[in-house]
């Protein structure tokens, strides 16, 4: 077989795969700008006859979607901020502080990674209910503020920081907090970006736990809000596509801008296996 023929074949396969991957997303965006009813016409339309923003306007003015967008943003930002702090503190202790049982404790945490979060959701709901945290932002935020995976990422990265550097600061009388805050954290910036990205996206896209813990429509996050919207407005395809765009685009843009950090974290996560 001719070499350049093979190259063309390879790229046809790649482009075909890219088209299949992008069609659902492209159609979602396109249909969200179509006038009502156009997305269900036959033969199918791929582009709007006249682009309209009316569905987006409807989402914010009549469907209370602005509120859900705000809820999603607040919860995802709070979870991200807390998880950066808590996981980096724990990661620092596991990477750089010497104490008895350190490796055993870390191994125990890694072993606990096999437990799926769904297993504990029923008792967790009861616990938060007795604490009065059901249907509050706190109920949605707290369980995500620390994660074994986050601690793992931080520890792996911080282990590579030379001990001599930290010991020199200790001899100069710096406190452990000062070392962590003004030496280790600045060095760990790339991994902090990675963890922030992972946490923000996971929190933004999370569905099952917010569905359980946030029962009042005013507290709904986007995935819960659009899942409930599709029950009432299943016929309004264009409206539903606009609500999906609203949910998907922020994290997609974030990913495209920061994908270097995202992929790096993915690799670190996979080598543990």
């Amino acid at each position: 077989m001719n070499r350049s023929f093979g190259v063309i074949l390879l790229h046809i396969a790649l482009v075909l795969g890219a088209i299949i991957t992008l069609i659902p997303l492209a159609w979602m965006v396109s249909a969200s700008f179509m006038p009502t009813g156009e997305a269900s016409m036959y033969p199918p339309r791929l582009l709007p006859s006249a682009a309209t923003l009316m569905h987006y306007r409807d989402l914010f003015t009549r469907m209370n979607m602005g509120r859900s967008f705000l809820n999603s943003t607040i919860i995802a930002l709070a979870v991200t901020a807390a998880s950066l702090l808590l996981n980096s503190m724990a990661g620092y202790a596991f990477a750089k502080l010497r104490f008895r049982g350190r490796d055993r404790l870390f191994g125990f945490l890694l072993a606990a990674l096999v437990i799926p979060t769904q297993i504990g959701m029923l008792p967790l709901f009861l616990m938060l209910k007795s604490a009065g945290l059901v249907n509050t932002y706190w109920g949605a935020i707290l369980p995500g503020t620390a994660s074994i995976f986050g601690i793992f990422l931080m520890r792996q990265f911080m282990t590579s920081i030379p001990d001599d550097l930290l010991d020199a600061a200790r001899i100069d009388g710096a406190s452990e907090w000062a070392i962590y805050w003004s030496m280790v954290l600045p060095l760990a910036r790339p991994i902090l970006v990675t963890l922030a990205l992972f946490t923000f996206m996971a929190s933004w896209n999370d569905f099952m736990w917010p569905l359980i813990v946030l029962t009042d429509e005013q507290k709904y996050v986007l995935p819960v809000a659009i899942a409930s919207l599709v029950g009432e407005h299943a016929q309004d395809i264009e409206l539903m596509m606009a609500s999906s765009v609203l949910t998907v685009i922020p994290v997609l843009v974030l990913f495209i801008c920061l994908q270097r950090y995202y992929i790096a974290g993915l690799m670190m996560g996979s080598v543990k296996g």
């Binding site: 790649l14 033969p43 202790a93 008792p123 620390a146 074994i148 099952m208 609500s243 997609l252």
Partner: protein, 313 residues
Amino acid sequence: MREGLRNEARAAALFLAPALAVIFLLFLLPAVASLFLSVTDFDIYALADYRNVRFVGLRNYQQLLGDAVFWKAMRNTLYFAFAGGPLTVFAALGSAMLVNAKLTRWKSLFRTIYFAPVVTSLVAVSIVFRYFFHVRVGLLNQFMELIGLAPVDWLGEPKWAMPSIILLAVWKNFGYSMIIFVAGLQSIPEEMYEAARIDGAGPVQQFRHVTIPMLAPTFLFVGIVTAVGYLQLFAEPYVMTPDGGPLKSTLSVVMMMYEQGFRWWSLGFAAAIAFILFIVIGIATVIQFRLQTSRERASAVAARTATMVGGEE
């Protein structure tokens, strides 16, 4: 020095306390509590007043194992995981080979496109696919009509509902494993391919005798992550077929747990479902480990022989 170490230990305790408190209180404790909940009759009356909770031994489990709906949900979930899992892994390996091929141009562009579905909200894309599969207005049926095929009620027919959800899952998830496979492919030393070529191995044989064995650890990781994730199927059927689909053909175990626990407030019964799922996930993980270690051992030998043969040339 001793004093210093004691200080370090004290500091470590303070640094660890917040994160460990969250993990122990909000993750590990509830997981263990689930086991205790599953041997009680915790229901809506207990929710009103905890004094109504009674220990019932294994009654929830007995009831569950005799429940046809539970077995249906378990079969559906296993079908999803054992058909959707391998399909996802193959799609991932195929796209990784294409993206990673030496002659491929715009590698990072294709990689980004293939990965995009992974970061999308599962609920949002489930809504998109719900319309995509719609019997009358769905793009898929309209396309089939254009090329002269009879329309199919994808989400309304028992035999097509789960394959439709599998298609969504493959589309959504293959990019994740693709990235891991690309890393695995890049870690294979070029000399091994050279050695194989010198031995007269064609592209297919190189794939079989170098690529596949060298990727064994990657297969293990990707296989476990995919299987564990797929056994927790929930949002796709919840959004696409809210009532469990035609003849309950898309009802999943987690969906049943959610309905029993948070719609009917039979939390004791739902906890038993959660615990059985945990055991199934554990078994699936162990099986993959067993399968892999024997194959990996064989492949390591094969791979080593390949390099040694190459070295002698």
